[in-house]
Subunit: 415 residues, 2 copies
Amino acid sequence: MRAEIISIGTEILLGEIVDTNAAHIASALPEFGIDLMYVTQVGDNPARFEEVVARAWGRSDYIFMTGGLGPTEDDLTRETVGKTLGEELYLDEEQERIVRSFFAGRGAANMPERNLKQAMLIPSARAIPNPRGTAPGWWVERDGKVIAVMPGPPSEMTRMWEHEVAPELERRADSILVSRTLKTTGIGEGTVDEMLSPLLKGTNPSIGIYARADGVHARIAAKAPTREEAWHLIHPVEEEARAILGPSIWGVDDQSMASAVGQMLEAQGLTIALMESATGGSVANAFTDYEGASNYFKGSLVTYTAEAKISEGVPAELIAMHGMISRETSEAMAKAVRERLGSDLAIGITGIAGGEEVEGQPPGTMHIVLWDGQEAEYSHSRYYQGREAAKRRAVLQAMTVLRRYLMARAQGAVH
Amino acid sequence: MRAEIISIGTEILLGEIVDTNAAHIASALPEFGIDLMYVTQVGDNPARFEEVVARAWGRSDYIFMTGGLGPTEDDLTRETVGKTLGEELYLDEEQERIVRSFFAGRGAANMPERNLKQAMLIPSARAIPNPRGTAPGWWVERDGKVIAVMPGPPSEMTRMWEHEVAPELERRADSILVSRTLKTTGIGEGTVDEMLSPLLKGTNPSIGIYARADGVHARIAAKAPTREEAWHLIHPVEEEARAILGPSIWGVDDQSMASAVGQMLEAQGLTIALMESATGGSVANAFTDYEGASNYFKGSLVTYTAEAKISEGVPAELIAMHGMISRETSEAMAKAVRERLGSDLAIGITGIAGGEEVEGQPPGTMHIVLWDGQEAEYSHSRYYQGREAAKRRAVLQAMTVLRRYLMARAQGAVH
C-alpha cells in the first residue's frame, strides 16, 4: 500500500509553523504495512492545491491530508477533494446538529453561518468525529482508495489519529508491524552490533541499531497478521537481546533517562537532592517532568553564584582553594545539599554552560559528583554545541552517573 | 520568483526526524521576495526522487534541496540533480583536497574512498563551503534557474544557509522585506488592532497582529530595494507604534520574556532569587538559558517537598495552616529565599503541574508571589494542557509578574 501526506496551510510555507502532523502520521504508518512515498506541503492557492491532490489521487492508495478545514474562504480542503473526485458537497443534517451544539455548549449565542461549511460532506465521505474542535474530519473511500482528511491543529489532529484513523487502518491492515526499542548506554554502536550479531540474521523480527544522543538503541521489529502475533515474535528475541545487553539497557521505547532513573530511585526506596550551578535547574526540571517525582525527588538548590553556594553550606575556603568549577566544589555541593534536604543521595554539578573559558577550563566542561553519605562518584565531561545543548548534555550525564550507581547498588556492589 | 523545497531522506518519511530545515528556509524566503509554492519530502528511492526533482525543475525558479549528500550509496542527491540537468559528475580537485584535509584534520589516517563522492561536481555547479562537515553544498545555476543543495544535518544546513545561501539570495534580490515584531503583554488582540488602527492603513510598511502564547505580537514589515531603505520605512512606524503601545511592549523579534526580564534586572542593578515547587526548576532554567544570567540571577531553591521547604526556611506552622499550595506558602517561600540568598527580589511559586487535584485545587493552579523586602505582589493563575505545558505557562506567568514590577519600579511607582 502506497501512501502520501498532504499538509495544507500558508503558515507552513511561510515557516511560521513546523509541520509536526506529517511526522506524527509518518511514524505510525509502517505499523500498518503502509509505505509512505511523499509528503507535500502546499498553501491555500486553489490551483496548486488541486494539482497536488489530483496527482496524489492518481498515484497513491492512501492520502492523508491535514489542515484547511476551518470556516473561512481560505479553507479549501473540502472543496478541493470534492472537485478532484467530481462529487458535489452537501450539508449533512447530523453534522449540522453537531456543529451547532458545539457552539451552544460553549455558550455562544449564535453560530456564525460560515461555520456551516464544516458540516458539509460528499457522497463518498463519512464524517470523522472531532471532540476537540468544530471541524469533523472526512474518511473518503472510493475506487479502492482512501483519503483521510484531518484538522490542522495538532491537538485535534493527533486525537483524531489515535482514536479514529489509526484504529481503522489497523482493522484494514493485512499485517501489523510492532517494535520494541531497547535503549543502552556505555557501549558503542559497533559493539552493540557485534553483541547482537547472533540475533541479526532473522528478517522477522529484524533488529536495527541506531546511535542516538542518549546512547545506542536496538530496535526489534516484527510483522504478523495481528498485533498479538507480532508481539509473540518479538518477545523471545527481546529476551535474548536483554540477556546479551544486560545492564547496559536503561530503558525502552519512548522512555527518557530521567524517567527511567526516577523509577529506579522509587523501586529502591531512595530519595535524591541536587545542588546545581551551570545546569541552572535543568536537572531538577528533567526529574519534575514526570508524575510522582515527589516520591523520590526532594529538590535542587540552584546556586548560581559563589555566595549562594556558601550560604547553602559550601565552605568558602574550599571554593577559594579549588575554584568554583572543580571536582572539589561539586563534591562539597553534593555533601551540603544531602545534609540540608536530608536525602539518601545527592548530586553536585559545577561547570561552564556558556561559550567562554572560565578558570582555564573550556566551554561545556562539567564536574558531576554523586554522594551517598559514604562514597563519592565523580564524572567529568566536556561537550559544547551552544549553551542549551551543553545544559541538556549535562542532564544526561548526571542521569547516567546516577543510573550507574543505582545499578551497582541493586547488584549489591555498593554497601 | 517561485520556489520550492525538496527534503530528502527516508528517516523523514519514517517519521524518525521532523523536517525543521524546510521551516528554516521557508521563514527566510519572504525576505528576498521569493514565494514558496511547495515543500516535498521524498525518500531515497531513485525513481521517485528523480520525478520530484524533474517536476521542480520544470515549474520553479529556485529549488532548495536538503539531504542526500552523505558518502553512502543511498545518498543520491548529486546523481539525481546531474541526471535531471543532463550533466555528468566529475571529481573536482579542489574539493577533493578539502575533503581529504577534513579527514586529516580529525586525525583519521585514511579517508574512506567512498567519501570522494562528496568532492564531485557538475559543470553548472559550484561548491558551497561546509565548515561543519565533509559534504559541500552545490549552487547550480542554469537556464535562469537556481538549485541550492544543502546537507541534511540541521547544524550544517543552517550554517550554510546563513553564511552562504541567504547572502547570495540577498545579492540577487530586487527588493528586501524586513520586519520588526513588537511583543506586548496584558492587552488583547482586538485592543492592539484598535490602538494601531491609525497605522494600519499603509501597505508598505504593513502591520500584522498575531495572538501568541507570550502575548499579542505586532509585526511591522517593509519592502525596499535595499535592507537599509526597508529599515528607513520601518523606523518611523515602529516609533509611532511604540508610542501608542508604550509599556505593554516587553520585547522585540526573537526575544524571550526571560531574556527581556533579565535585561531589565541588569539595567536596574537588581538581583533575583527563587523558591520553586511545582515549576521544578523550570523558572531557573529559563533565566539561565542566557549568557550573563549570573549578573542578576542568584539561584533557585527547588523545594519539592514540605520538608525541603521547611529546611530552607518556610515555617512549618504556616504550611500546616494554609496548605502547601497557597498564596501564603508562596509568599513565605519568597521571603525565605530572599533572606537565604541575599537577593534584592525574590519569587516563591507553589502549584500543581500534574493532572490531578491537590488540596481541592484544580490541575494547573499556580500561586506566584514576588517579594522585594517590603511589599508582595501576588498572581494566581490556572492553565492545564499537560504537565510540561503547565510548567511552561507558569514560567511565563512568573516572568510577567516580575516584568510588571520592574516597569512600575522604573517609573518610580515602587519606593
